[in-house]
């Protein structure tokens, strides 16, 4: 088997069922009565049904589909946050999910402390973070502010720091929910360039976007999800041409 064809992720027959309880479930009494009468109903719906695809080493796989097609759910299942109702995911490499930037930040800690906290959450090694600390600091352009508590940062500063921490690694599998372009124009250009660099650097990338142009530009393979099932998968050009909302 050639290096090109090494499987990094194998998603086989994954289904995800959610129980939608009505929010206004009524009183406790009602619930209990219904439960005994066997009338406690959940509206069940499948966010994903029998989804299967493989991701090979070096692939940049785009996932497209309408809102609610199950794109975010499949990303969460792949990164291990959710357990699928049926089917399974085999992972052959370390995954860095970039689902939402800075979700582990603590507003009372300083920027420096947050670098280490957030890095630990993303699964980086201690030695690695110490050696890359200066790089993170330089990229975020926060030199004078790094020892201030985060609550005094502007939202742009927080996003810059989060982006710098998240992209300092070279993971084997990178999961990206929408291309991340944050901060002012200058930083946006820089962050976009960094993303491109990461994605073209031989890492395997899973990439969700609504921007078809971006997908065409970046990906070599595309999976089109529709209503929780795979509508079509294959070469980028082919799928994108057929893709209609």
């Amino acid at each position: 088997m050639s290096e090109e064809k090494k499987v990094m992720l194998r998603i086989s027959d994954v289904s995800m069922r959610f129980r939608k309880e009505e929010d206004h479930a009524g009183s406790l009494k009602e619930t209990v009565i219904n439960m005994f009468a066997g009338r406690l109903k959940f509206t069940e719906f499948y966010a994903l049904q029998h989804v299967s695809f493989d991701v090979y080493k070096g692939d940049v796989l785009g996932i497209i589909g309408r809102n609610g097609a199950g794109k975010s759910t499949i990303l969460k299942i792949i990164s291990g946050i959710m357990k699928p109702t049926a089917g399974n995911v085999e992972r052959y490499g370390n995954i860095v999910p970039m689902l939402e930037l800075g979700s582990g930040f603590d507003m009372d800690l300083s920027g420096r402390e947050n670098v280490f906290l957030n890095g630990a959450i993303l699964g980086y090694e201690k030695e690695f973070l110490h050696s890359k600390y200066d790089e993170i600091l330089a990229f975020s352009e926060l030199q004078d502010f790094i020892n201030m508590p985060l609550r005094n940062y502007s939202s742009g500063m927080i996003m810059r720091l989060a982006f710098s921490i998240a992209t300092v690694v070279e993971p084997e599998i990178l999961i990206v929910d929408e291309i991340l372009a944050v901060g002012d124009e200058n930083f946006q250009r820089k962050s976009r360039a960094r993303m491109m660099e990461l994605m073209s650097g031989g890492t395997t990338v899973l990439f969700v976007s609504h921007d078809l142009n971006q997908i065409r530009e970046m990906c070599n393979r595309v999976v089109w999800l529709d209503g929780g099932t795979v509508r079509l998968q294959g070469e980028c050009q082919e799928v994108c041409d057929q893709y209609r909302l």
């Binding site: 129980r19 689902l99 906290l117």
Partner: protein, 345 residues
């Protein structure tokens, strides 16, 4: 799975074992010397027991080594590998929780010392002089302080770890981390406070002991304090597993726990002593207390500080049973429901 250096683990395990044996032998020497089991002097069995435990430890590490090579399943090895993989995260989370607690206060961690002292002073004045609940308890101030320190520790741990899953929801829904880590790190960070609050306890006991009649002084039994704290912390972790997983499904637990813990506090002999009930002949209450884990943990510390000797061996057994029992109960419950957390957060 990452390979871990079991040689080093082995070294540390034996060092910790040795330290524990030394602490226990010195601290509980009087008990070991005096006790007898089935007509045999315990002193003769004790070395055999120590060697036996060391042997079990040695054999188990050997098993883990073989499992690492052959790739066979082994619960202990799996635990160590997970700990190794996430040790940096655990360290960071503990640091965060501890730092956050006093971050915006002027006195900072000094509150860990100050708080029990202030509490003790207030309660001492109220219960000793105004209400006269002390009865004929000797060294009532220290009796009270032991209870307060241990209770506060337990209360802090359980309340903090109860919220550990819900307050880390932002992380749990975004990044995969074994969820056990959250309650455990909360208990660990709260336990720093418990350890710190031992300092005022010992300090006050020393100073108070000089001026009281009869004199109260610290003895080598103090070396046994870590055992009491450890047992209570295991209990707290179990409580944390239990409460935090309940909290995800029923947010009412937060308010209910406030009530239950207050009730529990008054049901535990912290400000009063059981001898008062014995004198009055209310024996059912005294018997009931035998089922209160907190009573045993607090009494463990009081025996060490006030009676200046090791608790009876049966007390170790009872405390251990409560700790391990609740830990396992909490652990299995947590494991059963943890996959559903994400759907409710």
């Amino acid at each position: 799975m990452t390979k871990i250096d079991l040689k080093r683990t082995e070294k540390y395990a034996f060092l910790i074992f040795l330290a524990a044996v030394v602490l226990f032998t010195v601290g509980a020497w009087d008990r070991i010397f005096a006790a007898s089991v089935f007509g045999l002097r315990f002193l003769w069995i004790y070395p055999v027991l120590v060697v036996l435990l060391a042997l079990i430890l040695f054999l188990y590490i050997g098993r883990m080594k073989r499992a690492q090579v052959s790739g066979k399943k082994c619960a202990g090895l799996f635990f160590l590998q997970t700990m190794h993989k996430y040790r940096f995260l655990i360290e960071q989370l503990v640091q965060r929780d501890f730092k956050i607690k006093y971050k915006r206060s002027v006195l900072g961690a000094f509150w860990s010392f100050l708080n029990p002292l202030l509490m003790m002073t207030v309660q001492y004045v109220v219960f000793s002089h105004l209400l006269n609940i002390r009865g004929n308890t000797e060294h009532y101030a220290i009796y009270l302080l032991c209870g307060i320190v241990m209770w506060n520790g337990f209360n802090d741990c359980s309340t903090q770890s109860m919220r550990s899953i819900t307050s880390n929801a932002a992380l749990i829904t975004k990044v995969y981390v074994p969820k056990y880590i959250y309650p455990v790190t909360r208990v660990l960070s709260a336990s720093i406070n418990i350890v710190l609050s031992m300092i005022p306890l010992l300090l006050v006991t020393t100073v108070y002991g000089l001026f009281s009649t009869p004199h109260l002084y610290l003895s080598k039994a103090v070396l046994l304090l870590p055992f009491g704290l450890l047992l209570m912390l295991i209990f707290c972790v179990g409580m944390g597993f239990f409460l935090s997983s309940l909290m995800v499904f029923f947010h009412d637990i937060e308010f209910l726990w406030g009530f239950v813990s207050t009730l529990w506090m008054y049901a535990t002999p912290i400000i009063y002593s059981l001898s008062m009930f014995e004198e009055k002949g209310v024996m059912w209450f005294v018997k009931l207390e035998q089922f209160n884990p907190l009573y045993h943990y607090i009494q463990f510390i009081r025996t060490i500080v006030l009676e200046r000797q090791s608790p009876a061996f049966s007390e170790y057994g009872i405390c251990l049973a409560f700790s391990v029992g609740l830990f396992l109960l909490g652990f299995f419950m947590f494991r059963k429901v943890q996959d559903r957390f994400i759907l409710y957060l």
